[in-house]
């Protein structure tokens, strides 16, 4: 057994980390988030040049054939730098879904996405979060040679900027059924689509998208019987999001240990107080658990041996432990931990967002508990 990154993965990790250290410090990130631009086009083009946009796709679809372990190797650094670029939405979600279909048009879109010439968004979440795809309700009514989409997608990351939407929809059956699901490619400018865009607490651009009798041709059907593809895409994004979270958790532990060692009250560094020291110890234990689960789960996923329970354990642990580390970091920083000026609060908001997406820790814990084996 070897759970360590390979030499190649370590090099990839280091090069992405060095690039982001240089171009994506906290000040640059905050300037970007405060601007009109949803992400940095310059950074995105450099990602394309570095091959990062091609990384997770197979060589037949124009990618580099990277594995989930390669994605994890770079995603920790994305977390540490609080990257807002559409890597999750356009590459790992919508791009991955396009890649899993042999549809010609989908392959054309994928080529543009890999080249950094187009952005795709994954319109999947509905009212209460849709970690279990069987609860998708957005309807696709077949009529003549066309489909008519009715319903709403919530929190579509980069939904307002996307050139193409990949939409999960229900062709038949009711919420809770695994059959009857489809993935559609939809032009966001189609009549009947209403996009309400907003910024998220963690600095991303997102949108709620209303579909009112949106006409979609049969050629735009990417996949019918899409349940297993949806599960595969969501499984991998949960690992990638967990890697981001673990990167953040490590950064918060480092920042908090440094701050508590220099901040003096009652004439001594506050880390000399046992309550503070023990909180640091708890943060380290939490980080260690999350990190161990990330590397273990990544390795078994790469080997094709992971189960839904394994992924739920990772996402549940990262959600719970990440929130705990974020809250402990704010408490340890005191008043300044409450400000917008320090990176601490921004790390915490990203951890909260990661927990909420694709099932929070409570959801995953109950899923684990439900399993009757």
């Amino acid at each position: 057994m070897d759970f360590s990154f390979t030499e190649e993965q370590q090099m990839l990790r280091d090069s992405v980390s060095r690039f982001l250290d240089k171009t994506y410090d906290f000040k640059a990130r905050q300037t970007l988030v405060a601007s009109e631009k949803p992400w940095s086009e310059q950074v995105w083009q450099q990602f394309a040049e570095l091959g990062l946009l091609a990384l997770p796709f197979s060589e037949e679809t124009g990618g580099l054939g990277g594995s989930i372990a390669d994605v994890v190797a770079i995603a920790e650094s994305f977390g540490e730098h609080l990257l807002v670029e559409p890597y999750m939405s356009s590459i790992l979600l919508a791009g991955r879904a396009l890649a899993l279909s042999d549809h010609d048009v989908a392959q054309d879109w994928l080529a543009k996405i890999i080249a950094g010439e187009a952005i795709a968004a994954f319109a999947h979440e509905e009212a209460r979060g849709t970690a279990a795809p069987e609860f998708v309700t957005l309807g696709a009514q077949q009529s003549g040679g066309n489909y008519f989409l009715d319903g709403e997608k919530r929190l579509v990351l980069n939904g307002a900027e996307a050139d193409i939407l990949v939409v999960s929809a229900r062709l038949s059956g009711v919420a809770g059924e695994k059959s009857g699901l489809a993935l559609m490619m939809v032009d966001p400018k189609t009549d009947g689509i209403e996009i309400t865009s907003f910024q998220t607490i963690d600095g991303r651009s997102a949108a709620h998208i209303q579909f009112d009798k949106v006409q979609v041709s049969a050629e735009q059907l990417l996949l019918d019987d899409a349940y297993s593809v949806l599960v595969a895409v969501i499984s991998d994004i949960m690992i990638a999001l967990s890697a981001e979270a673990v990167g953040i958790m490590g950064a918060l532990l480092g920042a908090t240990s440094e701050y508590t060692a220099t901040r003096k009250q009652f004439d001594v560094p506050i880390s000399s107080f046992q309550v503070i020291a023990h909180r640091l110890a708890d943060m380290k234990i939490a980080y260690t658990k999350a990190r161990a689960s990330l590397y273990y789960t990544t390795a078994i996923a790469e080997a094709g041996q992971s189960t839904a329970r394994d992924i739920a354990i990772l996402k549940g642990q990262v959600g719970k432990l990440g929130r705990a580390i974020g809250e402990d970091a704010i408490q340890s920083h005191g008043g300044v931990g409450m400000t917008d000026e320090l990176i601490i609060s921004h790390y915490h908001k990203r951890l909260i967002a990661i927990d909420a997406m694709f099932g929070d820790s409570e959801y995953h814990f109950r899923k684990i508990g439900q399993a009757h084996d």
Binding site: S4, Q305, R366
Partner: protein, 401 residues
């Protein structure tokens, strides 16, 4: 990253399983089902160790030259898994997991030749003489004194929390041999060949679970040979710290933790929920056991990374994190067991817990053991250095100050 599931390991698992299915006596199995502590029934744990030793499997973690199995880390993990699946009693840890590895690392050749065979076979039970009434977390302030006299030491003072001292025939202990310098500097590590030396008085202490597991030991001019010293005189603190790394880390704990979860799930299938139906279908139970299972899984991942040689185990805080995680998981498991037992856990059944007793438990096996296990498990965050001390140690590896 590379995960290997090769056929050799599958064959190895089958070999282990066949032996573990056949070798233990009924009494040993009964002792396994009635475990309520880190320490299983003394007689059956000892009998089981003799059987394992005859097979050559008493100490899989030891180097092969001293009687270890020569198994890979994966094989040792599989052995632990199959062992736990059958609810077999754990071996008493003091010999195989504590003083044995210590002697292998730091003992003289004479000490190894003299003591290791008895540790391996289980013929010798070593009680641990560390804590004193006024030296617990602050262990280095210990006062039990050894004065050199010719080739001997003469010991005066007392030790407490000496587990199963009343069943022991040997003891390893820390004594004060000097008051000069820092308090850590005047401590010496001694091996005692007997626990019935003239002047030694062992008094069992009945615990909150009703069992006399712990003891207090008094020394009144007890004369022991200096040849039992490990390391140099006044250098016992170094020896003790070395031993603690074996006590706090070492072999995989997650197979044991996972086995408890299986028992809880089994019991939950039949246990009525106060909201109707059975606990296994109760959403709150599902969420709570899911959270616990996820946390146990992280411990398992941590252990598997460590045994595979991942850098995560090079962290200086590794033994303390390991001890903290494991002890707190055991406590949470024990709480959940009592929750499943509910009112059935309130009957005091000390007779039914004895091995070979002809007393039928009033409820299920889980009901029989859950409360004494819960009560005994309060000790997990106290022994081997309280978790407060562990967190101090962990924090030192984080702090930049």
């Amino acid at each position: 990253m590379n995960i290997d599931f090769n056929s050799e390991l599958i064959a190895f698992r089958a070999e282990i399983s066949a032996f573990l299915d056949e070798a233990p006596t009924d009494a040993i199995r009964e002792a396994g089902r009635k475990v309520t502590s880190v320490f299983a029934d003394f007689d059956q744990a000892t009998a089981w160790q003799a059987i394992l030793n005859a097979k050559g499997w008493a100490a899989p973690d030891w180097p092969e030259q001293y009687g270890g199995t020569g198994w890979s880390v994966e094989q040792r993990y599989i052995f632990a898994e199959e062992y736990r699946k059958r609810d077999l009693p754990p071996l008493l840890p003091n010999g195989i997991k504590m003083v044995g590895p210590l002697l292998i690392d730091l003992g003289t050749e004479d000490q190894k030749a003299k003591y290791l065979p008895g540790i391996l076979s289980g013929e010798d039970y070593w009680t641990q003489g560390y804590s004193e009434p006024n030296a617990g977390s602050d262990l280095a302030s210990l006062k039990c004194r050894a004065r050199a006299d010719g080739d001997d030491y003469i010991i005066n003072g007392s030790k407490i929390w000496t587990t199963l001292a009343h069943r022991s025939n040997r003891m390893f202990m820390l004594v004060r041999t000097s008051d000069a310098g820092k308090k850590q500097q005047g401590i010496t590590f001694l091996l005692l060949d007997r626990t019935d030396y003239p002047g030694m008085d062992i008094r069992p202490i009945k615990g909150l679970d009703g069992f006399p597991e712990q003891c207090e030991v008094f020394f009144d001019n007890v004369r022991v040979p200096q040849s039992g010293r490990v390391g140099a005189e006044n250098d016992g603190w170094t020896v003790a710290k070395h031993l603690l790394t074996h006590e706090r880390g070492g072999s995989a704990q997650s197979p044991t933790l996972k086995r408890y979860i299986e028992h809880i799930r089994d019991a939950a299938r039949d246990a009525a929920s106060p909201f109707g139906g059975n606990m296994i279908d109760d959403p709150v139970f599902q969420r709570d056991i899911g959270e616990l299972e996820a946390d146990i899984a992280s411990m398992e991942h941590f252990e598997k990374l460590a045994i595979s040689g991942h850098e995560i185990a090079n962290d200086p805080a590794f033994p303390s994190m390991n001890k903290t995680m494991n002890s707190e998981l055991i406590q949470r498991i024990s709480v959940m067991m009592t929750q499943i037992s509910g009112l059935e856990g309130l009957s005091l059944e000390l007779d039914a817990l004895r091995i070979g007793a002809n007393v039928k438990p009033l409820g299920t096996y889980l009901d029989l053991v859950s409360m004494p296990f819960y009560l005994n498990s309060r000790a997990t965050t106290i022994y081997a250095g309280t978790n407060e001390v562990q967190r101090d140690l962990i924090a030192r590896t984080v702090s930049h100050g």
